[in-house]
């Protein structure tokens, strides 16, 4: 309710005439932090992301919860981003940063593929990402797990917001990384089959979903094989389905109104008149 507004006949608040200074108090509040971190927080992905190499390629996994501090901003967001036909990248940190950074590098790689007439290599993507992130000295808050297959085989890289990278056989990042890493460290083996790798990734993401407050909802999986095929399984596991819970609530019948309930008394059609600007004739080009 803004100061100076008034109630009208329908008990709705109408804004008062003239200027509205209600944001003054909010701005004072923000300025009081005196140069410390601003109180407006960018939407972060909380997150558990995981990547592992197996005998025939790589498997990437991610949860689907996006948070604004303690509120869940999105229940089913996509954290596995396309980089190239043979590469996908999971992103943790600030949602805007991960999406825009991965999109930028994806487009740079596409131009490079046109120039070189060759499929992209993971080292290229990693180098482009680390050069950009180092340039921004950590202010672009994007922590990434990049995975894919190129002519040199399957690879997984982890990339930190300040620009350091590491090449690993398996890794996890995000607020749920400790929970996921516990699962990975106890169960990872070399040369797993695809089923073993997918089961492992699902369990690792599940550990993050259930033990980390910043992660939740569903698990997305992406399998990139050395022969070049990609199997993107959106919502591969859905352990937090809301529909059965919502169905148990008794709601008023008035919430489900079928079309046609409101009778039409009169209907009138007026075509919108097309008037040329200033009534002049259209411009002609010699």
């Amino acid at each position: 309710m803004t100061a100076g507004s008034q109630m009208n006949a329908n008990n709705l608040h109408e804004p008062a005439a003239g200027f509205d200074f209600s944001n003054y108090l909010r701005n004072q509040n923000l300025l009081q932090t005196d140069g410390a971190a601003p109180k407006l927080k960018a939407k972060k992905t909380g997150t558990t992301i995981v990547g592992t190499v197996y005998a025939g390629g790589v498997v990437l996994g991610a949860d689907t919860r996006a948070t604004n501090d303690t509120e869940v901003a999105e229940r089913n967001c996509e954290k596995i981003h396309y980089i190239a036909p043979n590469m996908y990248c999971c992103g943790a940190g600030t949602a805007a940063d991960t999406e825009n950074t991965t999109a930028l590098i994806s487009r740079q790689l596409e131009l490079l593929r046109m120039d070189t007439a060759r499929p992209s290599r993971l080292v290229t993507a990693v180098t482009l990402l680390k050069r950009m992130l180092f340039r921004y000295q950590g202010h672009v808050s994007a922590a990434l797990v990049l995975g894919g297959c190129d002519l040199q085989g399957p690879h997984i890289y982890q990339i930190y917001p300040h620009g350091s990278t590491a090449k690993l056989p398996y890794t996890s990042m995000g607020s749920g990384s400790l929970a996921a890493m516990a699962v990975l460290e106890s169960s990872w083996q070399e040369n797993m089959t695809e089923d073993m790798a997918v089961q492992l990734v699902q369990r690792a993401i599940g550990a993050g979903i259930f033990n980390d407050l910043g992660s939740g909802s569903n698990c997305d999986i992406c399998i990139i094989k050395t022969d070049g095929t990609v199997d993107y399984r959106r919502n591969a596991v859905k352990p937090n389905e809301l529909a059965p819970l919502r169905a148990q609530v008794q709601r008023s019948g008035r919430l489900n109104m079928r079309p046609g309930l409101t009778p039409i008394i009169k209907s009138e059609f007026k075509p919108h008149p097309v008037v040329a600007a200033g009534g002049e004739t259209a411009m002609e080009v010699e």
């Binding site: 680390k130 992130l133 180092f134 000295q137 950590g138 982890q158 930190y160 917001p161 300040h162 620009g163 350091s164 990278t165 590491a166 690993l168 400790l178």
Partner: protein
């Protein structure tokens, strides 16, 4: 458990930003007849979490020159990438492989001129046809010192006495390698920011010999 030791920030971590990845670290370079053995632990940490437990802190700068990295992982990776590029250019322009001294002084230039924004303590070691084996230590502010043997990183202060008493001139390659592993194992036992496996590279005129071991010569438990 909070003790005074764990509440203290090491000289390295004071310069790191929040959430920045540190190479924690113990790094060493010991010369022998005809070459140098460089060694490092493999722990990379963010705060108290070990981000990578098998990292490679020994970066190849050119055919016979290696650099050991300590401090911020992002800063040192970027620095070694620059120096590798400069040394490739030098080789093309001069027609000769670069000297260890050139690599060390190029690194010093970068570190000194960007001292406000970097957190990097490195050891540049290798072999060149002019000087033979050479070891240079580049500290946080950009000091470049040629030294008979070098050790650096948060774990290095626990092995100063050990190295001072055990170092000898003109060791063989295997003696140098054994000393490197022993010193690293002792540092890893006492420093929380150092751990994992021991990586070593023996650099000689003939070539380089890279190795790693998870069997630490000294430690509380052997797996």
């Amino acid at each position: 458990m909070t003790t005074e030791v764990s509440m203290m920030h090491s000289a390295e971590s004071q310069n790191l930003k929040d959430g920045e990845v540190s190479t924690g670290t113990t790094i060493i370079a010991i010369p022998f007849q005809g070459g140098v053995v460089v060694g490092a632990d493999s722990r990379t940490s963010t705060g108290s979490y070990v981000a990578v437990r098998t990292s490679d802190k020994i970066a190849c700068l050119s055919d016979h020159i290696y650099a050991c990295r300590s401090g911020s992982a992002a800063d040192t990776q970027a620095l070694t990438d620059y120096i590798r590029y400069y040394l490739q250019q030098l080789k093309i322009e001069t027609g000769r492989p670069a000297r260890v001294k050139s690599a060390a002084h190029l690194l010093q230039k970068l570190v000194y001129q960007n001292k406000d924004n970097l957190s990097a303590g490195m050891i540049v070691a290798g072999w060149d046809p002019v000087e033979g084996p050479a070891i240079y230590s580049i500290a946080l502010g950009g000091t470049c010192l040629k030294v008979p043997f070098a050790f650096s990183g948060s774990g290095s202060l626990y092995i100063t006495g050990l190295l001072d008493s055990e170092f000898r001139e003109n060791m063989t390659k295997e003696e140098a390698r054994t000393l490197v592993k022993k010193a690293l194992a002792h540092a890893m036992a006492r420093d929380g920011s150092s751990g994992g496996i021991i990586r070593t590279v023996a650099i000689t005129a003939e070539g380089n010999d890279r190795d790693y071991t998870s069997q630490l010569p000294y430690g509380p438990v052997s797996y």
